[in-house]
């Protein structure tokens, strides 16, 4: 599924990723943990194609297809979805309009027919209900004036509507209250399937109680410095990153 090999990337001449190698097979959920500034968001941006990053070495592919060659919207149409650490506000574009535009753009890119308005609305109502999102909120400008937790829930709503193949969740748990964490996790777990892969970036083991990872990786100073099973997250929670920060430097 997702193969990252010796990936190096820099921002404004500052090297951030310094040789990330990672394999997420279809059907698996991998968690990435690591100290602030380690490069976790950078990795998610490089995979999704945000401007301003220069890949200097290495590769990243999804199901054998080179991701780094594609435009961000092409990657999205191939199934890459990034749940942003800080979702953007889009004034003047109602959430529903935005998502429908996205759904149809992806369908067009894949040579499929656009979704009809009634079918779209029905699906949106279902998904909103399961994520406990007030449908009226979807008529407001996307994320405008939404609380931090509401924005995260809206990310998962969009994900549910787009049903992507590969999910990257960048600190989707931050800002969520206890109930919202559960609802959001259920939303994510609903998408777990043998064809899908996920990369879950988080600082807290708590999320991993809900979204159970197959593997846990530690990213420090731009490299994966340790990998293990779910127990690694528990160990990090108890011991912190001290020994890895030293190892990466």
């Amino acid at each position: 599924m997702l193969s990252i090999n010796n990936l190096h990337a820099r921002v404004e001449d500052k090297p951030i990723l310094k040789g990330v190698t990672l394999e997420v097979p279809a059907g698996e959920v991998h968690a990435i943990m690591g100290p602030n500034g380690a490069g976790k968001s950078t990795l998610s941006y490089v995979l999704s194609g945000r401007g301003g990053y220069e890949v200097t070495e290495g590769s990243a592919s999804l199901n054998g297809e080179d991701l780094l060659e594609l435009e961000p919207n092409e990657r999205a149409a191939k199934g890459v979805f990034l749940s942003f650490q800080y979702p953007l506000e889009i004034p003047g574009v109602p959430a529903l309009t935005f998502i429908r535009t996205a759904v149809n753009a992806q369908r067009r890119a894949r040579g499929e027919d656009e979704i009809a308005a009634p079918a779209f609305l029905k699906l949106a109502k279902e998904k909103a209900a399961s994520l406990k999102i007030d449908f009226e909120m979807l008529k407001r400008g996307l994320n405008v004036g939404f609380s931090g937790g509401e924005k995260k829930r809206m990310e998962i709503f969009q994900m549910a509507m787009l049903s992507p193949k590969f999910l990257i969740l960048d600190e989707t748990d931050s800002g969520l209250d206890i109930d919202a964490l559960k609802i959001v996790s259920e939303g994510v777990n609903a998408l777990r399937s043998p064809e899908r892969g996920m990369l879950v970036i988080t600082h807290y083991q708590r999320l991993l109680d809900y979204i159970k990872p197959d593997r846990v990786h530690v990213l420090a100073a731009g490299r994966i410095v340790a990998s293990g099973g779910p127990e690694l997250a528990l160990q990090l929670e108890a011991e912190g990153y001290d020994k890895y920060v030293g190892a990466a430097a």
């Binding site: 435009e71 961000p72 999205a76 996205a102 149809n104 949106a124």
Partner: protein, 388 residues
């Protein structure tokens, strides 16, 4: 002053006129274009406000045809063969030329006696010719009217010069929607002179895609006296198009409200001009005036020239203006692209959202929908993205 005299004397508005420094006509019109021929075919086709008004006035190549609606009593039509020309060529050069050169009848007049909507279509149908037209609009006391005005470029390289004089009697209300769809190489100037009586409301929205050189100018004599004026605009320009929205509002008495909101976008080598002047005369206290102009520049070679001016000679007023010019939020563009929306579509969507606020201020439902569709089309978007 005749047009030929103006050209010979180099008297057409040019950079030398402070108020025309960004919309030079002299450099473009060096010889007198022939007078546009009679053109009737346009009657068969419909304008952008089709179906929104019973009464329709078509002024094609400067010559009028009046189609009274079913209810002829609420909207009346007159012709005036010898109206005076009170316009001073120094301050209103193109209005003065239009008043002198309007083709017979020298002026058409629409009068609203009861609540109604009328559409007025200024059609420029021929390549390389010129015409001048003059229209009067009267809204009787207490009457609420809608004027749906289109400028339709069917030919190209024409010079179209239009003068519109609007009189709102006491307590009258007029919403004027101007949709200017001029040809790429045309030169088009429309000047509206609006006289507002006590307690009247004048609301205007100008939508334009520009022309080779285009100016839509509005002068409002505001009496204060609980009268309300709203002057809005949208310009969406690409290629080498130019659009100038100039407004002058003079508050002459106490207790008047003016709000203005113009938003625009320029791409390629287009040029947008906004000149907004609000004058609050001595003694015009309790004036409330707000002006906003906000624009997006989407290319290095595009240009926006903006001059918001508040000239205040009264003491007790509440006036404010805001003027911002910037680029699209690249973070928002990436966010949309990450969701699968191609770059151009993402930019168009965000631009549409940016000007949408102005569209929402249109009160007439039909006109508001037409304006929204026009914006979408102008940005190369279909309505399909909408999920209402």
């Amino acid at each position: 002053m005749s047009l030929s005299t103006a050209i010979e004397n180099s008297d057409l508005p040019s950079r030398r006129h402070e108020d025309w420094r960004w919309t030079d006509l002299r450099g473009l019109i060096r010889t007198v274009p022939p007078v546009s021929p009679v053109f009737f075919d346009v009657i068969k086709s419909s304008g952008p406000f089709e179906g929104q008004a019973n009464a329709e006035l078509i002024i094609a190549n400067g010559r009028q045809n009046w189609w009274p609606g079913k209810d002829a009593e609420t909207v009346e039509f007159f012709e005036h063969d010898a109206p005076d020309n009170p316009y001073d060529r120094a301050s209103l050069p193109m209005a003065a030329i239009a008043a002198d050169h309007a083709i017979e009848p020298r002026a058409s007049i629409i009068q609203f006696n009861g609540d109604d909507a009328a559409s007025v279509r200024f059609v420029s149908a021929t390549d390389g010719t010129s015409h001048h037209a003059r229209l009067g609009v009267v809204v009787k006391a207490g009457v609420s009217a809608v004027l749906l005005e289109s400028h339709e470029g069917r030919g190209d390289r024409y010079l179209a010069n239009t003068l519109i004089e609007i009189f709102l009697e006491e307590g009258a209300k007029l919403e004027r929607i101007v949709l200017a769809d001029d040809a790429a190489e045309a030169v088009a100037v429309t000047t509206a002179i609006v006289k507002v009586a006590a307690g009247a409301t004048f609301n205007q929205t100008v939508l334009t895609g520009g022309a080779r050189r285009q100016r839509i100018e509005t002068h409002v004599a505001h009496p204060g006296a609980h009268a309300q004026v709203r002057l809005d605009g949208i310009y969406l320009l690409n290629a080498q198009r130019h659009a100038d929205q100039t407004t002058v509002v003079t508050h002459g008495g106490v207790d008047g409200v003016t709000t203005q909101l113009t938003k625009g976008m320029v791409a390629d080598q287009a040029r947008g001009v906004f000149q907004g002047r609000i004058i609050v005369a001595e003694g015009a206290d309790q004036t409330d005036a707000r002006m906003g102009h906000h624009a997006l520049i989407l290319s290095d070679r595009a240009e926006i020239d903006a001059k918001p001016e508040l000239l205040i000679f009264a003491d007790d007023v509440s006036c404010a203006h805001g003027n911002t010019i910037g680029a699209l939020d690249e973070e928002a563009v990436f966010y949309a692209r990450q969701r699968g929306i191609p770059e151009l579509e993402a930019r168009a969507m965000l631009t549409q959202a940016f000007v949408g606020e102005v569209v929402e201020r249109i009160e007439h439902d039909g006109a508001r929908e037409i304006a929204a569709a026009w914006v979408a089309k102008q940005l190369g978007r279909s309505e399909e993205g909408g999920a209402e």
